[in-house]
Symmetry: C2
Subunit: 285 residues, 2 copies
Amino acid sequence: MENKEVFFIIGLGLIGGSFALDIKTKCENAVIYGIDNDEQHLHKALDLGIIDHKATFEDIALADWIIVAVPVDKTVVVLNDVLGKIHNNAIVFDVGSTKFEICEALKSHDKRRNFIATHPIAGTEFSGPEAALTNLFLEKTNIICEVEKTAFVFQEKALQLFKDIGMRIRYMDPLSHDKHIAYMSHLSHISSFMLGKTVIEEEKNQRDIFDMAGSGFESTVRLAKSSPAMWTPIFKQNKEQVVKALSEYIANLENFKTLLEEERLEDIYTTMQETNRIKEILIKK
Amino acid sequence: MENKEVFFIIGLGLIGGSFALDIKTKCENAVIYGIDNDEQHLHKALDLGIIDHKATFEDIALADWIIVAVPVDKTVVVLNDVLGKIHNNAIVFDVGSTKFEICEALKSHDKRRNFIATHPIAGTEFSGPEAALTNLFLEKTNIICEVEKTAFVFQEKALQLFKDIGMRIRYMDPLSHDKHIAYMSHLSHISSFMLGKTVIEEEKNQRDIFDMAGSGFESTVRLAKSSPAMWTPIFKQNKEQVVKALSEYIANLENFKTLLEEERLEDIYTTMQETNRIKEILIKK
């Protein structure tokens, strides 16, 4: 193991697997161990060369880095377990789409200084080790919460790793993260899932109607392909903020419906025109 | 003009412009005239080589083909005018996203047999002649309504043209078209516009929050970049079906919100899992 850096990746799905692929490319001396509840995922990850070895939680003390990439309800449990087992210089980070509950649960942990709470804004609608992609994180944003609670030396090392795989960093407190991500990500998933549901319900006896699906529908409904196992606990953990965003979204849809029923075409036009601003906003980001 | 086929394209936006580009490539003997209310669009289309010549409605009798690609409220007016001016062997088609009102308005026209009501399911969120693309229609569906009202000889010629630019054909009655397209296209646009509106309203004082926009948000909000001038009349013409689809969408969102408020996580999981079926449906189409 001399000169080797030992990475443990817990959860070999899209995000965990993509980290493994990038780390292999960027860190010559990395050895990657994988842990996953699902034996099939573990074998698949080995077959695809995503990980070098299988491992278990008993081996955690070997790790210099531990990346926890499991659904957010399990993240809290796994992080507690992992932090109890690591050596003093190990760095642990999670990649969950919610940050408040995770940061709260760990705030008084003995090894809090070894932990860095992150949310890489990257992904696709697919899941499992087969969905892992090299360069998934290139030019994407990684949000780090409560960075001041991580020891400086570990901050430095982690930032270098994120930089090596091409990410830009933003710092945010966990509550602000959860509030804004409800609008910027969680709401999109619900709007897309419910669009898919509405269309499937209407067209259930008319399969050939899907010939009418253009690229617009496909793009808007894309997130409805996402994993329920990943998204159910995210919605639960961020319930309050998601319900707020969803209520505002429904109110805007209700308002649009009223405008249409009353044929207030100028208002409809103006609403859409004002929203066109999303073009410039997304270009500037 | 010997051996030349004269195409008139009325409305030099994304769709009209893209037809012009493909026709130039596929029909060696095509000469393309353009008509547009907007002088700038007309000049741009000339500059970009999309059309060969500017024209006016006074020149329509020269045309062998007339493609009407203007917003759907103007389509009815323009088609009436055009059909009154064409020679006996000219073929006229529109490309509007609604079909019932257009077919109704023309059903008793003397030249109904020269007209073919189509809806090419193709496009992007951009508009104007700069948005025109070659091969936009390749492998896309073109829906033809009330084909039996078009003279057989004109059907044949039009089908050949659509085939030449790579489209597959589906036949549908105008009411069914409008009903299904409300779900497959119009609803996606509203869901996307209102998502953009909700997020802009929430984040208006926090521009840097858009750093948090991932590819999921961008994909779901893409259609909110679309042209209000095109979409306002579509929603108006298809008001009844769009209101129905929108009501069902809102009911599904309300239901999801209730499930989340009550933390009925199994039901949330099942709802998303059932909607994942959209994957197979879209692959099979």
